[in-house]
Amino acid sequence: MSELSLTRLDALLMLVLDEQASKQEHQELLALADAEPRLAEQRALRESLRAALVDAALDPIDVVPQVLAALAVEDPWQSISSGLRDAVDGDIDLADGIMAAVGGAELPERRVAAVLEKDSVPTADEARGILLSAMVDGELSREKRAELSEALADDGSALDQMTQFADLGRVLRTVVELETRQSNLDGLWEEICLQIGVEDPEHVPGWEKTAGMLRAAAQEHATLSASEEGAFTAAIMNGIPGQEHLSEVQEPEREQAAANNGFWRLMGDPRSLMVAAAALCAVVLGLNFIPGDSALPVDLPVQASDPVAQLVENPDLGTSERTAGMTEDHNHAEVEELESGHDVTVHIMAGMEGAPMFLMIDEGDEGVTL
């Protein structure tokens, strides 16, 4: 039988022991057992297995161990039981339970001697102990195992012990699985804190001193005094540029229409055309006009309605903005017309030495005091 089939047979036997095998798996187990060469000579065993699985005439637990023994298949539980045995403090001899259970059964010594192939014939007790220990440890050959299984088949107490071993193995496997599974450790520290009397799970012993030093340093250097805060705020406010609110501008229609036609307006302006013509003449003739040239003839007629133009270098045809409030000595102003409302008085204070003119408005409620 292939290794795979043997593994499958072993697995099915385990399922039967755990009472978890289905009827289909029973059939599969019987088929594999019939095909197994090592069980070919164990016809009675195979019939017992069939009776247990199909007819339910026997308890499978009574038969499966014999099949395992006949197969001499290494029970995977062997490694676990060996590990458990090694890990447990003190001597626990699993064979002792079996030996105690089978103590009343007397195995034929000759069978024992034949099985052990020893020169000396041990005592009955010794023989039983040795045999069972060897069997549990898997030290017996296939043939010896089969022969001992046949001998134990008539010993009900021994079979009971082996059943108990099977139950014990199942329990131990469950316990080992429970112990080795991956556990969620979230919340574990909080539970431990409760058990050991620590109130705050986040508490770090010895941190109080360091935290206090950090707190004191922050309070000392991260705050501003009243004067510092005032200076800080003033520096910020002074750095903010003045807010200029653009008001709605009402443009007259003619101004708006002209503004949309600047170039053609310029070209259509007769003054502009004559300026262009004069500039062309000056360029062609190579004249250098000097204002104030007294050599010009003074008897040429000059009409007062046509003011003489002055050539200005870099004429300022656009607007220039100046900083708000930057009043220099250009504050000369005149009030050409003045009208005030009812009960409103306006006083004009002309500026002296370049000072701006003040128009003091008294709205008539409480009067204006300067």
Partner: protein
Amino acid sequence: MKKLMGLIALLATVGFSAPKQAVAQSRPAPGVHSAGAKAKAPVGKVGVQVMVVQAKDAPTRRVDPKLKAMEVHFGHLRYNDYTVLGVNAAQLGDGAKASFDVEGGRRLDITVLERSDKNVRMRVQMFKADKKLVDTIILIERGGTFILAGPQYQGGILLLPITANY
């Protein structure tokens, strides 16, 4: 011949307001025109700037940094605390009007009537609700400032420096 052509070129160049002093002997003098003279204004707009300043009494003297250049002109006022409440601006061509809201429910309308190279003529009107407080026409020098003052506001008065730049 060249001089004759140059003179013709000069005669043909019109539209500039400032007359040539050496030739024009009967021209009006440059500078501030008298009322009624129609000066030829250059192309462009007038930048009108209106500051709203609150002047009041305070335990210590405090002048808004924006008023540094103007502080010297406040010496005759009895107040010692000057705070800029706001700055309004508008670009106005000839005939254009701008309206500014002023604290205390007031409104200031400024209309640029005409401008010359030296000065600008503006109409300044102030209203409180529907009541007209003042309606005046002022000829101000180019780049100059005049101040409306006196409207009551929160224990002090308002100063409205108005500047015309172009």
